[in-house]
């Protein structure tokens, strides 16, 4: 923190005045996005207008470097602004905004060349550029370093081909940050490079994926000989894994735009559901309600305990964050299942179009997202086992071999070693 930095409380007062003068009060507190709802281009356009207002007022990228259009302040200042702006209409880009400003912009600021940053970061903060990630692949999910999209040098250009999937909001994005393999003859983590690709570049096809919940927030992409130049490389060639790790840390934090509050009221949604289906006196339903709430409460305090541990240790061991992820991955589907149990037949069939009545089923369909996305429960358990508990490692068959050889060996797996 530099000495001349404005004090958080002074900043808060300044922000409060600016907000009152420039933003509109929110009509009513919005009850959270309906999962499955899809952000439209119209919403993005409206958000861009509002973002420009913030940018011009000096409140976009509060903790981004000042030389790239940010304010150069801290997370505490970000948090103060969020608290003051809570009752006002702020830009809502949906998930593509979270990805752009929460993970990609920060990864660019840390790893891209100064020239690249000067071009793109102000555009991001102004809302002119929305970004997405071309990252996971149909054949590489939890095994992120196992991607097979290929970037080949051809004179002063790079030619990129492959397929990508699970790109949140890519259909709304202007640019993509794309991970490709640039060397196949080294171990898998060592031949990866990140590229910036305009979403409307020749050879890029973006398709929304219809999800089991009916939504289509995620996309899949086909890259057919897409051409970029060295100027589009983010970070160093073949050192893409370092950028990835930065991005993963920001991604974990990116969703957490506000500190959640301690859940004190007994699982209100499930109490309402039990009341609606006439089971509030049913001992089994009461047990299910209490179980869900106790798990919520324990998860909250686990999260706080882990956050404390990360904040207050000199060498924070980020591996412990896997506890929060695993808890969410275990208890979210369980909670959804408890909802179905409480709801009974009323949760299996409901009046056409009645969102409240259909909610338990929707939550149930969405229940395993967090158990799978951004590292499955199994990956978290490995991480906790090896990195937190210090258990002996799983034998690995892909970290020290050329990636080409890994692919060959995997196809003829027989479990024989040495």
């Amino acid at each position: 923190m530099n000495d001349t930095m404005i004090d958080v409380e002074d900043f808060r007062r300044e922000a409060k005045a600016w907000i009152a003068a420039n933003l509109k009060p929110r009509e009513r507190v919005r009850a959270g996005r309906v999962v499955g709802e899809v952000t439209t281009h119209e919403q993005i356009d409206a958000a861009r207008t509002l973002q420009r207002t913030l940018f011009e007022g000096g409140y976009a990228g509060i903790s981004y470097p000042a030389q790239y259009g940010g304010r150069g302040l801290t997370q505490a200042h970000e948090q103060a602004f969020r608290e003051e702006a809570a009752g006002y209409v702020t830009p809502d880009f949906g998930v593509v905004g979270v990805v752009t400003m929460g993970a990609i912009g920060r990864s660019i600021a840390e790893h891209a060349s100064a020239e690249f940053c000067r071009v793109h970061i102000p555009a991001i903060l102004r809302g002119d550029e929305m970004w997405c990630q071309f990252y996971s692949e149909p054949e590489a999910g939890s095994d992120l370093a196992g991607i097979r999209t290929r970037a080949t040098r051809d004179g002063d250009r790079w030619v990129i081909s492959g397929s990508k999937i699970w790109s949140s909001g890519a259909y709304l994005a202007d640019w993509a940050m794309c991970l490709a393999r640039t060397d196949w003859d080294v171990p898998k983590h060592r031949g990866l490079t990140w590229f910036a690709i305009p979403c409307d570049a020749k050879g890029v096809t973006i398709r929304q994926i219809r999800q089991i919940n009916g939504g289509a927030e995620f996309c899949e992409e086909f890259l057919d000989e897409v051409e970029v130049t060295d100027d589009d490389v983010i970070g160093e060639i073949n050192r893409g894994w370092a950028v990835t790790q930065t991005m993963l840390v920001y991604e974990r934090g990116a969703g957490e735009t506000a500190t959640p509050t301690e859940p004190r009221a007994l699982a209100p949604d499930l109490v309402a559901l039990a009341r609606r289906v006439g089971r509030l006196e049913d001992p089994a339903a009461r047990q299910a309600i209490a179980r869900a709430h106790i798990n919520d409460y324990a998860q909250f305090h686990l999260g706080r305990r882990i956050a404390d541990r990360l904040e207050h240790s000199r060498n924070p061991d980020h591996a412990v964050a896997a506890y929060s992820k695993l808890a969410a991955g275990v208890y979210t589907p369980l909670r959804a299942r408890l909802g179905m149990e409480i709801g009974g037949p009323a949760a299996l069939a409901w009046a056409v179009g009645d969102e409240a009545e259909g909610r338990p089923a929707l939550d149930y369909l969405n229940g395993r997202r967090i158990s799978i996305a951004a590292g499955t429960n199994e990956v978290q358990r490995n991480g906790i086992g090896e990195r937190v508990l210090g258990l002996p490692r799983e034998p690995s068959f892909d970290t020290n071999k050329a990636f080409n050889e890994v692919l060959r060996n995997a196809r003829s797996w027989d479990g024989k070693v040495g």
């Binding site: 939890s142 196992g146 289906v277 056409v352 259909g358 395993r368 797996w413």
Partner: protein, 374 residues
């Protein structure tokens, strides 16, 4: 599912598989157009030709079981149906045909029953679908003084009411539960289609506004109705359990194959104990589910007094196992299972629904206690 199946049973099963694969393969299952009345009627009448709706009906009334155990015959068909996510009022029609054969008036046996057996019409059982409480709840019956009834109330989430079909309504009266067979399009009967988790079935709410039922549409009498309702529940539970086990086995096979094919971290994912052991446990659950469902069908169809207990045990074990299985398979599929195009979610929806139909696991556990006299 059954290694002891007779020659006759095997022949029927083979021809039934061919029928399903030709008439309602996966692409048709996914197609909402399948819900049109024409497809529904054609599918039903072809199924009837195979004997799908005659198994629980005695020969004297136009039925025929292959093995002498009609519940077992029907359960074997149900198993195949479940694996292929087949539509149609199989469970309801069989349960109602069985009930009419056991306790229907001469008119019901002469007019409605042959139509059901021949696939000219289907039937749905309108029971209370609440997790706790009596199957009769929701609709009140009062006597009309001439042996008939007047029915008023509503049943939510009734399974598979097809156009032109019949309803078996279980209602409460001051003298205990009563039952009557009513046309789904009779005056005063409202059938409102519902949205549902399961995309391969249809559900409706049935509203009855002082529907008059003649004496010859009433099933059984005050003394016998409670036992008949228990029997119907046992048959419905057994057949749904069998459909559910079929879906479990199919979903498991799909998942197992994926675990062999999918490569991550330089190995097929099925070589990791995290996956392998979940699949081993899941396959144990499939085997136990098959074993208990066959046991229930055998016992119930042999009119052994233990049938209703066995049926409740099967439904409870299969219901819990089905949801566990669906959740575990989803986890093995990972992201791909989250896409609409992948069949995983069809099974997730189906299995979870099966678990709740005709009493969830907790309901059947309590029912078992009551049947056991505690």
């Amino acid at each position: 599912m059954d290694r002891d199946a007779t020659e006759d049973q095997r022949a029927l099963l083979d021809v039934s598989v061919r029928f399903m694969e030709e008439t309602c393969p996966p692409a048709v299952v996914r197609d909402a157009e399948r819900r049109n009345p024409e497809f529904t009627a054609t599918y039903r009448s072809q199924a009837a030709e195979l004997g799908w709706f005659s198994m629980l009906v005695p020969e004297a009334l136009g039925g025929a079981s292959l093995s002498g155990n009609g519940v077992l015959d029907a359960a074997l068909i149900a198993y195949l149906r479940g694996g292929r996510l087949q539509p149609g009022a199989f469970v309801g029609t069989n349960v109602v045909a069985d009930a009419i054969a056991r306790a229907g008036s001469a008119r019901l046996q002469a007019e409605v029953l042959p139509a059901l057996v021949a696939g000219e019409a289907s039937a749905a059982w309108a029971l209370s679908a609440t997790t706790a409480g009596s199957p009769a709840a929701g609709v009140d019956a009062r006597a009309d003084g001439a042996g008939g009834l007047v029915l008023s109330g509503a049943k939510t989430a009734v399974l598979d009411i097809e156009p032109g079909g019949w309803l078996l309504v279980t209602a409460s009266s001051p003298d205990g539960p009563v039952q009557a067979v009513v046309a789904a399009d009779a005056p005063g009967v409202g059938v409102v289609a519902l949205e549902s988790l399961d995309l391969s079935r249809r559900f409706a709410e049935v509203r009855l506004d002082a529907v008059a039922v003649a004496a010859d549409a009433v099933l059984g009498d005050a003394a016998s109705t409670a036992a008949l309702v228990d029997h119907q529940l046992a048959v419905a539970a057994t057949l749904v359990a069998a459909e559910c086990v079929g879906a479990m086995a199919a979903e498991f096979a799909m998942t197992l194959q994926y675990a062999k094919d999918r490569i991550a971290f330089g190995r097929p994912i099925g070589s990791f104990q995290a996956i392998k052991h979940v699949l081993a446990d899941t396959s144990l659950a499939v085997e136990m589910s098959k074993a208990i469902t066959l046991a229930a069908a055998r016992t119930l169809g042999s009119e052994d007094g233990h049938g209703p207990s066995a049926a409740s045990m099967a439904k409870a074990l299969v219901g819990d196992s089905a949801i566990d299985l669906a959740q575990n398979c989803f986890q093995v599929f990972g992201g791909i299972g989250y896409t609409w195009e992948h069949d995983q979610h069809l099974y997730l929806r189906r299995l979870t629904t099966d678990a709740g139909l005709f009493g969830d696991a907790a309901w059947h556990r309590e029912h078992l206690c009551q049947l056991s006299g505690i």
